[in-house]
Amino acid sequence: MKKITNLKEFACTPDRFQGGHRLCPGCAHSMIVREVVNATDDDLVISTATGCLEVCSAIYPYTSWDVSWIHVGFENAAAAISGAEAMYKALSRKDKLYNEDRRVKFVAFGGDGGTYDIGFQSLSGAVERGHDFLYVCLDNENYANTGGQRSSATPIGAHTSTSPRGRVSYGEKQKKKDITMIMAAHGAPYVATAVPSTKHWKDLATKAAKAISTVGPTFINALSPCTTEWKFKPEETTEIADLAVETCVFPLYEIEDGRKLRITYRPKDKLPVEEYLSKQGRFSHLFKPENKWIIEEWQKQVDDYWDYLQRREEAGV
């Protein structure tokens, strides 16, 4: 496992994900990806689901990837990486590896659409089969690549292009699916949540290093604040991520072997959810008097979940 010490040293790691890609200014995807791919000194083979990251990083004849990379489709990043990993095992057994002196690790990236929704089946299958890979969900809570449609990661009350606020609607009606717990329930040896942030950069990098060095399927759900669809200024990305953590809207934790839960960061003074919601245009309508109950509902759910996490941690389950 790569030892991650200080930010200066970490930031000087040679880039495996190069600049010049076409992600939006202020997009959190590239921050998360850079942290993940630099969290190991082993060689990498990466698959990526169709989505923002894919369309912005490999437009022929250019590529941002200085590692072997494949994009097959929207719903099959996990299946594709499982095939590549199986080939590595087969060639190792047959003594036919291309670079015997190098160890290869496998990582898949998908957005919340490619993970929570259309790619869920192939992710579940690949994790159940026990392939040795890390799957990172870049969770921006909507189908940002195609103009901001709702996904099952979209939280209640959010305005998206297919769950718009309107004269008789307050936006998204469903609660966000709890993908991290679902993946933990697969019995994966390691799952975690993470955010791109100056405050919590090491939390993400350490989790990525741990996940990559763990044998077997591992999963990280990384909140990826989306300047374009969440409607905040590009320079506020890490601030939004920090607020998600400080309000406990997106708690940072890890689970080993589907059982042992550990909270990796505990806010000193938990902020009210309004602090997080009010910074984002997608929630601006919630501050109308008739929608006040939704914010109250938000706060209640966040409090309940934070309480649940702490009780699980205390109980060691």
């Binding site: 060689d43 990498l44 083979v45 698959s47 894919e54 369309v55 490999a58 437009i59 022929y60 004849p61 590529t63 990837w65 200085d66 590692v67 072997s68 990379w69 494949i70 994009h71 097959v72 489709g73 719903e75 099959n76 299946a79 594709a80 990486i81 499982s82 095939g83 590549a84 199986a86 080939m87 590595y88 095992k89 087969a90 060639l91 057994r93 047959k94 036919k96 590896l97 291309y98 670079n99 190098r102 290869v104 089946q121 192939s122 579940s124 299958g125 690949a126 159940e128 089969r129």
Partner: protein, 405 residues
């Protein structure tokens, strides 16, 4: 190292066992598959070979055919020999990824056991799945019996992996009629078969991590056309390689395959064009018809994609009337085989009278007598010098006669 499998000079195998042994002998590095009737025994047999130590590659039983082909693409891009098997609905679920496999020029081999497509649900043989995948950019080869299913699966690896081709290949056999019908098969011994196929030659493998590669990039209007045109070029120019591989295979097996197969066509006045197990039924019908004095012959495109249109036209240049028999619901037009043959003739300015017959959907029997009836009708057209029968007829269909003109 995988154990050598002791094979008798003559084995009694059904098509599924024949295909499974071909995959085993190819020492495939990764097989990713999902079971579906009637190709299920291919993966079951393969799993047993693995359990008994005859396979040393990876075998992944995935959670769907979509993931099966996706894992095959990931594995093939990683850099090694890859194969799978499927049928019908599973094939349909794979279609999206079939295009991605061929677009990335990955020489995956898929042994297809052809079956009808729902609805209504039907597990029996017809060519609906083959026709569904015909524009997917794969080479499609047709086997009419278990021996051919075995032989052509061995050939498929060598064709697809050839540096001049680098395309995925399917071998097709009719559901149940071939896949579950045991016949005598003369296999090659393991070492002979592997020597014929050869070592896998990697091209831009992802696992050569010292030389990173990007697979599955996006191309929009500036480059997409060039990529697809090049892919088409690879298909169109694969004929000499296919013929070369068939010739090499004859040297090791004594069995000769051709891009276009014919039966008693040289002196024929009329011809039937069809593929699959019904071709063998038609051979018996031709023999009977010739006893009646009808000079009839058969033609089968052994390779359905790329379609050998020049050779098809050349071999049919002396016949006066042709019936093309399609084993798939044409759904609003004439059958695909009819269209291909008609196009091939038109390109050469040939004007044989053409008719189309739809037969055998969902495993409906097609007997020698049924084919004889087609031959007699086709002869009427030849004698009249114009089409006097229906443009499109249906063989052994219940209810009132159905035809289109």
């Amino acid at each position: 190292m995988a154990e050598r499998y002791e094979l008798k000079q003559k084995e009694v195998w059904d098509g599924n066992m024949a295909a499974a042994h071909a995959l085993r002998q190819a020492q495939v590095d990764v097989v990713a598959a999902y079971p579906i009737t009637p190709s299920t025994p291919i993966v079951q047999n393969y799993a047993q070979f693995l359990a008994d130590g005859y396979v040393d590659g990876e075998f992944i039983m995935v959670e769907s055919e979509h993931s099966a082909m996706s894992a095959c693409v990931g594995a093939a891009a990683a850099g090694g020999r890859v194969a799978t098997a499927t049928s019908s609905q599973g094939y349909a679920l794979m279609v999206e990824v079939l295009y991605q496999a061929s677009g990335m020029r990955l020489p995956i081999v898929m042994t297809v056991v052809n079956r009808a497509l729902a609805s209504p649900l039907n597990i029996h043989g017809d060519h609906s799945d083959l026709y569904l995948g015909r524009d997917a950019g794969w080479i499609h080869i047709i086997a009419n019996n278990p021996q051919e299913a075995y032989d052509l699966t061995l050939c498929a690896f060598r064709i697809g992996e050839d540096e001049r081709v680098r395309l995925p290949v399917t071998t097709n056999q009719d559901g149940f009629l071939v896949s579950h019908t045991a016949q005598v098969v003369e296999p090659l011994q393991d070492e002979e078969a592997y020597k014929f196929i050869g070592e896998y030659k990697a091209l831009n493998p992802m696992l050569d991590t010292k030389n990173p590669v990007t697979y599955g990039a996006q191309t929009e209007e500036e480059w997409h056309f060039e990529h697809k045109a090049n892919q088409h070029k690879a298909l169109m120019e694969s004929f000499p390689v296919i013929e070369e591989v068939f010739n090499e295979f004859e040297k090791v097996s004594g069995r000769k395959y051709n891009v276009v197969e014919t039966y008693k066509l040289d002196d024929a006045d009329i011809a039937l064009v069809l593929m699959g197990s019904a071709y063998e039924t038609a051979m018996l019908a031709v023999d009977k018809a010739r006893e009646e004095g009808i000079k009839v012959g058969l033609l089968m495109p052994r390779v359905f994609r790329p379609f050998p249109y020049n050779e098809v036209a050349e071999k049919l240049k002396n016949v006066k009337a042709i019936a093309a028999l399609d084993r798939s619901a044409p759904m609003g037009t004439t059958g695909a085989l009819y269209n291909e043959v008609a196009g091939a003739l038109a390109a050469k300015g040939q004007s044989a009278i053409m008719t189309n017959y739809i037969y055998g959907l969902g495993g409906r029997d097609t007997t020698v007598e049924h084919i004889l009836e087609v031959i007699r009708e086709t002869e009427k057209n030849a004698k009249a010098g114009k089409r006097v029968t229906d443009l499109q007829g249906f063989i052994n269909l219940r209810g009132p006669k159905l035809s289109f003109n």
